[in-house]
């Protein structure tokens, strides 16, 4: 999770803004209602659905989810702030998640992370200025038999060496699973047609700043 804070004069949610959750998203969230005894229990599925379709969960989206699930917006805040997967501000089209746990570290994962930071020009939690990639680290991804490993969105890359990084970044299909998918959760925003054409037209020169740096400066 990486946060941007609001100052006290800023309005978190503009009451006049149009809703961000489309009817399709709302229907999809509602389709989870009969799985659980409480509506609140649909919160994690709802957050996944919203993030997968809109890219991140904005304050406005949190307020609308709260309304849909008949809970207080602070309940949504409370939950979302606990989990590392949810973004409350825009992330890149693809999120690269590097494992930092023990097997991957012993097998050379830190060098892979350093290489990624260098090639993308971002720090952990940073997003490239062209919006293509965000970089995060996480604890064990349960792929230790193939460490060091990393995820690009949904796709696991195994036994990654620093010299593989450039190739992985250059591959526009680096986040796509080559298997039958279940339709229960939406395709992540990063694999939309738009994103695919954007990333395949990239020239490989990634001009970046880190939003971590941006946050520090502001």
């Amino acid at each position: 999770m990486s946060w941007k804070t609001l100052d006290r004069n800023q309005q978190a949610v503009d009451p006049d803004a149009p809703p961000v959750l489309s009817d399709a998203i709302r229907d999809r969230i509602r389709s989870f209602f009969d799985r659980y005894e409480t509506k609140r229990a649909v919160l994690l599925p709802a957050l996944h659905i919203v993030q997968n379709t809109l890219g991140h969960v904005s304050w406005q989206a949190m307020a609308e989810i709260a309304e849909l699930l008949e809970i207080h917006p602070s309940d949504v805040m409370n939950t979302i702030s606990f989990y590392t997967h949810f973004w409350t501000h825009p992330k890149g089209e693809k999120v690269i998640t590097v494992c930092r746990s023990i097997t991957c570290e012993v097998m050379g994962g830190s060098a892979v992370l350093d290489e990624l930071k260098q090639q993308l020009g971002v720090d952990e939690h940073g997003t490239t200025t062209d919006g293509r990639y965000s970089l995060v680290t996480e604890e064990c991804l349960a792929g230790c038999d193939h460490g060091p490993c990393l995820l690009v969105n949904e796709k696991m890359h195994k036994c990654v060496k620093p010299e593989d990084v450039a190739k992985i970044l250059a591959d526009s299909g680096n986040d796509r699973l080559s298997m039958e998918r279940s339709e229960l959760f939406d395709v992540p925003a990063g694999t939309s047609e738009h994103a695919l054409s954007a990333s395949s037209s990239g020239d490989g020169n990634i001009d970046t700043t880190s939003d971590v740096r941006e946050m520090r400066e502001s």
């Binding site: 229990a41 699930l69 023990i102 097997t103 604890e139 349960a142 995820l151 699973l177 298997m179």
Partner: protein, 435 residues
Amino acid sequence: MATFEPVLLRNVGVEGARTLKVYESRGGYQAVRKALGMSPDEVVEIVKEANLRGRGGAGFPAGVKWSFLPKDRTHTLLCVNADESEPPTFCNRVLMESDPHQLIEGTIISAYATQSQIAYIYMRGEFHEQFHILQKAIDEAYAAGYLGKNIFNGDFSLEIYIHRGAGAYVCGEETGLIESLEGKRGWPRIKPPFPAVEGLFRRPTVVNNVETLSCVPHIIERGADWFTGIGPSHSVGPKLFCISGPVNKPGCYEAAMGITVRELIERDDMGGGMAPGKRVKAVFPGGVSMGVLSAEELDMKMDFDDPRNYSLLGLGTAAAVVIDQDTDMRIVLRNMARFYGTESCGQCTQCREGTAWMHKIATRIAAGAGRLEDLDLLLETARNMGMMPGLSICGLSDGATYPIETIVKKFRSELEEAIRSQPAGRVDRVLQVLN
């Protein structure tokens, strides 16, 4: 030993094993038919007799846990713990991606035994392929009438839903998992009440690990005596062992318990020995939370009892990672301390503060600004965090102390040596950066 025939992994590598058709052609879904012909209590009795101890880390007998459910209950819920977040554990992943129907069959039988109407599979958010594989398998089972209303044309009905997590180690703890399922922070609950009495949505709830449930069909099919005949008397049944790190064949292997750590590393049908040029320096044999073994302790038996003889917490997840001679123990120490420092949920003061301080101290040591007294400070912090039973809400706090304590105790001379040989002047510079 060499005659051990894999049970849980028998379908791994079989073409199309993820499909219902192939699974059934290899004897699948026979056990559930047999179980549905018995009374639920009979099934519980068989699992109890088999002494199936939980594979998720705590080793509590599954049948006994099931019999804690109140007799007069009307609703029961089953949670399948597929959170698999203990580094470096991946055996549940292998089970789900290679043989999803085995887990579904085990879940149906266990749900029937506990009279649960809904089973939630709590799957960590990082499992994407595994989610699609398992969901496809569940869809197939629904289509075949093995899930849903009146399954197998009988009286029993069961829904299985996958609930996806979102990145938090502590959601693998059973009450953290329950809170997370309810849409809240994954904060473990104070026990009692235990989940069997008051769990998910305040209903009687059973939480079991993926591997535990995957054993159940085989117990029903082949009987409790078959199960108790495998391995030493206190640790029966087939068991999955993970091995990772610089060995020739990292992977997930099945064996009877009681094999030694050395066998797991060396055997040709397992780790296949150390990678060229690598020697063992240390091994975390049961997931990191159980603590570390030195290279002299590789004769430890991987079962529920022997780890205690080596100052470890237990068998844990039976997932071993080998640390080689080229790895600096200060880096390992920092990695451990960071893991618990960032994963502690923060409810209990000694866990929150202790893990955070151990992380700070370990970071300083790894950066080359350690002090000799830091080692005792780490031990003292660990003692204050985990050594008083009942002090913390969940087991993460204990799990955090064992790796730190065993690293410091078993590798003290290496750490001291490293601290002594820190270049002069470095300490001040590092402290400036860290502060």
